[in-house]
């Protein structure tokens, strides 16, 4: 007599495409995570204990900014765009040149950053922030 043999059915979730799904997730996370790096203009402030350093006047170029955004470089008015070229020329003449930036209390921060940006573009090494 034929006993009917029960067929054992193995149910399986197909796992062949699991890797694809995981890769998709991986790529999503790689794209979605932004490595948020802060960008800006870096300077080093003088230490509070620093005594004043004597410097020859000819090695200093003073840059003054007034509240209206006018920039005076060695007492001559310059437009902000021209600072870079002037600073580059001065540095060629005198590589020891130090640029001292001084802003009026009512000057806007934006103008100050524009001036610093120009100095940085001219690859100035020593920027002094006067107060």
């Amino acid at each position: 007599m034929g006993l009917v043999r029960k067929k054992v059915r193995i149910a399986e979730i197909p796992s062949g495409s699991l890797a694809d799904i995981a890769f998709l997730l991986l790529i999503f996370f790689m794209v979605a995570t932004t490595i948020d790096m802060d960008k800006g203009i870096g300077i080093v402030l003088p230490s509070a204990q620093d005594s004043e350093i004597e410097m020859s006047k000819k090695n200093i170029t003073s840059i003054l900014i007034d509240p209206r955004g006018t920039v005076l470089m060695d007492e001559k008015e310059v437009s902000i765009k021209d600072i870079k070229a002037k600073v580059e020329a001065l540095q060629l003449q005198n590589p020891k040149m130090v640029f001292s930036v001084k802003a009026h209390p009512l000057t806007k921060y934006r103008t100050y950053i524009e001036v610093l940006d120009q100095l940085k573009q001219a690859k100035t090494r020593v920027i002094s922030i006067a107060e």
Binding site: L25, G42, A48, T107, K108, Y109, I113, D117
Partner: protein
Amino acid sequence: MKASIPTASLPDIVFMLIFFFMVSSVLRSHEGLQILMPKAKQIEKLESNVHVAYIWISKEGLISIDGRLYQPQSVRSVMYEKRTVDPQLIVSIRADELVNMDLIGQIHKELRLADALAVNYSTRAI
């Protein structure tokens, strides 16, 4: 005989990578003030995200550090503490472009007194 690379453990490897990315990526929401940073061309990236302290300055003259408001003269003690914990500290000043320079000057003075001398003015790229 068919030669094949076993791919059964591939999902495991990929999941491990996913977990690595999920854990290592920090979803940091900046807590600060609403500001519009000035623009600059010659900008440099901060080398690390770890040794940075942010000072937010809004155009109304509010100063915020780590989500708390401070008076200009108390910046010194806050930054001094941070500086003691982390000597490599860089202070990132996130100020609105319309802030007056007298406030920035005061912050400079406070930072100098706190001996936190490495400063970065946060800017937008043009």
